[in-house]
Every structure is written in C-alpha cells, then in structure tokens.
C-alpha cells in the first residue's frame, strides 16, 4: 500500500478514527495499531508477515535474555547472536546473489569455472528498516540505554508501526516506547503540522520527483551515450534533487501521519542540499540512518577510546563504505560509499590541520565560533568559505550520485565520459525541468522550520478552512501529478 493512493487514504482515515476513539484504553489502542500495521504490510505481500513477526519475536526474546542475567559474558553472547541473526536474515535476502555473482567473477578471473547456487529471492519491502530498528533495540538494551520491554505488544508495535515501517525514519526504541506508555496527545498545532507535512511530502513525491525522473533522469540514465552533455550535466543535478524529494517525501508523510496519531518522530531531512560541508550534509540527510550508522557502526568500530589519528579516518571510511553497501548489493553503491568516506576523511583532515595551524599562529577564531545565538556574525571571509564549501559539497554529492543511480559500473563510466565530452545542446532539459530542479535547490537555502511556524499560525483556523487546505492541496497535486504513482526509491533498500 503506497502512501499517495486512495487505498492508503481510506486505511489511514479508518485507523485515525478508531485509534482516537480508544485513546484512553492503552492496550486496545496498541492492538489496533499493531493489527493496522500488519494489514498495511500484508497488503503488499502477506507471505512476509511471518518474517516481520519473527524478527520482532527474536528481538523481544533477546532483550529479555540480556536483561534477565547479570553475567556479562552471557549478555554479550546473546547480543552478538541477536545482531548476527538479524544481519544474517538481511544478508540472505539482500546480498546472497550479489556475493554469489562476485564469487563467480572471482573464480572466472582465476581460471576456474564453478556453477554457483543462485537463488530466486524477492526482497521483502522495508526489511532493512525493521532489521535496523531491531538491532538498535537489542544493542541499546545491552548498553543499558533502555530497559528491556516486558510487553510483546509494545515491541511488536515498535518494530512494525506502519508510518515508518517500509522506508523509515529509523525510530529509536528509547524515543518510541515511552510514547506508548502515555496517553496520546493531539494539539491543534499538531493537526495542522501533520496535514502540512503530508501535503509537502505528496508534492515532493508526486510532482517534483516524478516529473524530474520521467522527463530527464530516467531517459538519460537509460543510455548515457545517446544523451547530450548539457542533458547529462542537468540530469546529474536533477537526480540529486529527485533522490532528495523522493526520500524526504516518505519521511515527511511518515512523520505527518504519526503526528496525527499522537506520535512524535524526529526530523529526518533538514535541507541537506544547502549543506556547506560533507559532515554537515550527513547531519542533515536521512538523519535517522546517519545517526544509526554513527551509534551502532562507527562507535562499535571506534570502541571506548576517542582517537583522532589514522584509526579515526579508517573508521569513517569503513562506516561510509558499509553505508553505501546497505543501499544495495551493487559495486556502484560501494563506490558511492567510498567516495563519501574519502571525502569525509579528507574534509576532517583539512579542518583539523587548519584549526591546528590557526591555533599555532594564535589567530582569532571568533568567526569559526559563530554557532549559536549571541555569537558574533561570521566575517565576510567565512561567508566566501561557506559558499565555496557549498559548491564543493554539492558537486561532490551530485557527481557521486551518478554511481548511486547507475545500474552498473559501465553505465556510470559512460555517463562521465559523455558528460565531459561537452557536446550537444539541451534536448531533454526543458525550462520546466530546470525550474523544478533549481527551485528545489533554492528552497534549501531558506531559513528553516517554515512548516512548524505556519502550523502554529494556522492552528485556530476553522475546520472547513483546514479541510479546504488539505483537500485543495491534495487535489491540486493529484491534478498536476501523473496518473499512477511510482514506488518510493527507498523501497528497494
């Protein structure tokens, strides 16, 4: 069941009304939301409901096992076993054929031909997301950050809550579970906030991402050798915008629908295309995933000690490499992750060296410290540095995205060759598509929290006006959008 469909609208309305009707009865409400979430997931393919339930049961029992003993060695073994089982299931569904494929290439290169046992595997939708949530729960219980959940209903709902089940955001147990034990609240601002996020997400997905994809990105990436350089240059910018619109749209709708049901989720995208450094970009892009990678991968690699030497750069690189591989079983994703890993490491090295150099010469660091209210504004030199930083970050991101989008390495290399041939004019890049792309980048530079502020202003609007805003907005999106809806890109991850 996709968000921008009549089926979801009817489903959500029914769940919304029923959930608020039983809001004072915690257990029936949780049961209702759990049943709704399983219906939502089973609507796509009911066969994978057992996988979802199995994953939830595994993590529930692991949490109880960890909290039920004080034997550190046993706790650690249970945690490692649970993480390994989670990753094992993910690995089989997502990476089995990729490794078999790579092994075949390797054996052929060594002059040995062996038939590998390939399997016809359908990737269960959202498997990465609910697996990551399960791992975060088990590790948090092991680390003592949260207590193990006694009620299976709570944990099953945490893993499968329909708003974020299929494509995130990856919600932490420490954030979600306490909300289940309290009576849900719905303020007037939350109602408008939820509606606005849904409208924003629908516009980004149905209008922006769709037209950019079908009008420019898909035809250009289908065969880059047949496209002109202008179209290729335009398409690589456009793809970055399409990915942003597609990914963030799902998060917006997820956060908006959750807000209407009385749940609070953190922001998942915060104008990342306006970031002035790679580090900042990753603090603003798919925040729940990048913080997950930081907390459960980078910190595991780092261990207890904080180091700033080559070990740190190695850990950053490995984290981004595995982050790339998480997106899919393809070498293009590995290269994409490696580019970001090297970029982040180099950026960190330059910043550290520059800081040490300035400290050594005892220069003023007032400009660099302009990080909050009350601090002095940054001097002009820093503005120029910020603009240069944005240009470098943006272009590194868009160029790396060519690997992300290409189906294989040959297509990516063809793309670069044709793009830098500088031949031909704009065939596919129309003023309409250029305006959509440039406009989507431009809004990233506006001051933030416009939606929240507008929600606060519109909180007392009459119901009829709210209905007209929601209905009129959705209707306009439906009218100018295409017929039918393409699945969200993140579904494949």
């Amino acid at each position: 069941m996709l968000f921008p469909t009549p089926e979801f609208a009817i489903f959500f309305f029914a769940i919304f009304v029923a959930a608020w009707a039983v809001r004072t009865h915690a257990e029936p409400r949780k049961l209702l939301l759990l049943a709704g979430s399983y219906f939502f997931y089973g609507f796509w393919d009911w066969r994978f409901l057992a996988l979802l339930a199995g994953s939830s049961a595994l993590n529930y029992m692991a949490g109880l096992g960890i909290s039920g003993t004080r034997n550190e060695s046993l706790r650690r073994r249970i945690m490692i076993a649970a993480v390994a089982l989670n990753l094992g299931v993910l690995g089989i569904f997502k990476y089995y054929n990729f490794f078999m494929d790579s092994l075949t290439d390797l054996t052929l290169a060594l002059g040995v031909h062996r038939d590998m046992p390939f399997l016809e595997i359908i990737l269960p939708i959202g498997i990465s997301f609910f697996t990551f949530q399960g791992i975060s729960y088990v590790v948090d219980v092991y680390r003592g950050h949260i207590k193990a959940v006694r009620s299976p209903l709570d944990l099953f709902l945490y893993i499968s809550f329909f708003s974020q089940l299929v494509a995130g955001p990856i919600v932490r147990a420490s954030h979600f579970l306490p909300q289940l034990s309290k009576e849900p609240l719905l303020s007037r601002t939350a109602v408008v906030f939820g509606f606005l996020l849904i409208l924003n997400g629908m516009f980004k997905k149905v209008v922006l991402a769709h037209y950019i994809a079908t009008g420019l990105v898909d035809p250009v990436f289908a065969d880059p050798t047949q496209a002109t350089s202008v179209d290729l240059i335009g398409a690589h910018y456009a793809y970055a915008v399409q990915v942003y619109c597609d990914f963030s749209a799902y998060s917006d709708i997820a956060i908006g629908t959750a807000a209407l049901l009385g749940f609070r989720f953190r922001k998942n995208f915060d104008r990342p295309l306006g970031a002035t450094s790679l580090a900042q970009l990753w603090q603003r892009w798919h925040i729940s995933l990048s913080t997950w990678l930081r907390d459960y991968l980078y910190r595991t690699l780092r261990g207890d000690k904080r180091d700033a030497g080559p070990r740190m750069y190695r850990n950053i690189f490995i984290t981004m490499l595995l982050g790339g591989l998480w997106h899919g079983a393809n070498w293009t994703f590995v290269i994409w992750g490696a580019i970001h890993g090297v970029g982040l490491s180099v950026e960190r090295l330059i910043k550290t060296s520059w800081y040490t150099f300035r400290q050594g010469r005892r220069l003023s660091t007032a400009g660099a410290a302009a990080i909050g209210d009350g601090y002095p504004e940054q001097p002009a030199a820093n503005r120029i540095a910020a603009i240069a930083g944005w240009l470098i970050t943006f272009h590194l991101f868009t160029l790396a995205a060519i690997f992300f989008r290409s189906p294989d390495l040959d297509t990516a290399l063809d793309y670069f060759r044709s793009m830098f041939a500088f031949q031909g004019g704009a065939d596919l890049l129309t003023p309409f598509l250029l305006a959509l792309t440039a406009g989507s980048v431009a809004v990233q530079f506006l001051p933030g929290n416009k939606i929240e502020r507008f929600a606060d202003k519109a909180r007392d609007w009459p119901v009829a006006v709210l209905g007209l805003m929601l209905g009129g907005g959705l209707l306009l999106i439906e009218m100018i959008g295409p017929e039918g809806v393409a699945p969200f890109i993140y579904f494949q991850f």
């Binding site: 849900p184 609240l185 009008g215 129309t430 929240e452 209707l475």
Partner: protein
C-alpha cells in the same frame, strides 16, 4: 510530555553561511504541539474530531473534482455484487460531475501544465 519532533527551532532568520551544525544546537524541549498555547494539555479528542472533519471535507472535494479517479478506483476493485454497484454508481456520479462542470477542472489544469512542460529553449 517531552516533544522533540522539531529537533530544533531557529530563533531568528539565518542564511546558510550562518547556519550552525545541527549537532551543536540545543534541542528544544517544549514544542508547540505538546501543549496548547497557555500550557494546558490539549483537548485531544476535540482536536481529533477537527482533524477527522477536515479529512472528510478533503474526501468530499475529491468526490466532486476527482470523480474520474473514483471511477478508476472502483473499476480496479475485485469484482463482486457490491463493487459492481459501486462501479455503476461511480459511473453515474462521474457523468453528473461532467455535466455540472467540476470534472472538467482537472483536464483544464493538466492542459495548462502540459503547455508549460512543452516549452523548449
């Protein structure tokens, strides 16, 4: 209730060169949709009714201006006596909306959009 849906809230307009890194900003602990303006707990049931009312108005707007979509939706449903009835009535409803005019808004809007999309250099 602690509410950090809005991970931070900028207190003044900042252009991107002055925009601080997210991790350096304090998390705003009291956010607007945890409580009503005067700090009192919200009337959640009343607000849920408001939201449901707004959603019903949105559905009604769709029925009037997107009758073609309703017809498509009903035809995609698995066939049985109930859905046959729905198909029949959605056809009649769409015919009525076409005669009265609302169903012609969408083609007109699409036409304008297509003309904009067709503009070339």
């Amino acid at each position: 209730m602690v509410d950090d849906t809005l991970a931070y809230r900028e207190t003044k307009t900042r252009w991107f060169w002055n925009r601080p890194s997210r991790s350096l900003l304090p998390v705003r602990r009291r956010l607007p949709h945890a409580t009503e303006r005067k700090g009192t707990p919200p009337d959640s049931a009343g607000n849920a009714r408001r939201a449901a009312g707004a959603m019903l108005i949105a559905f009604a707007l769709f029925l009037v201006f997107e009758s073609e979509g309703l017809r498509r939706f009903s035809r995609d449903l698995p066939g049985n006596a109930l859905t046959d009835l729905l198909v029949y009535n959605s056809d009649r409803w769409h015919g009525l909306m076409e005669r009265l005019g609302p169903a012609q808004v969408q083609p007109a809007v699409r036409d304008v959009l297509e003309r904009v999309r067709a503009i070339h250099w």
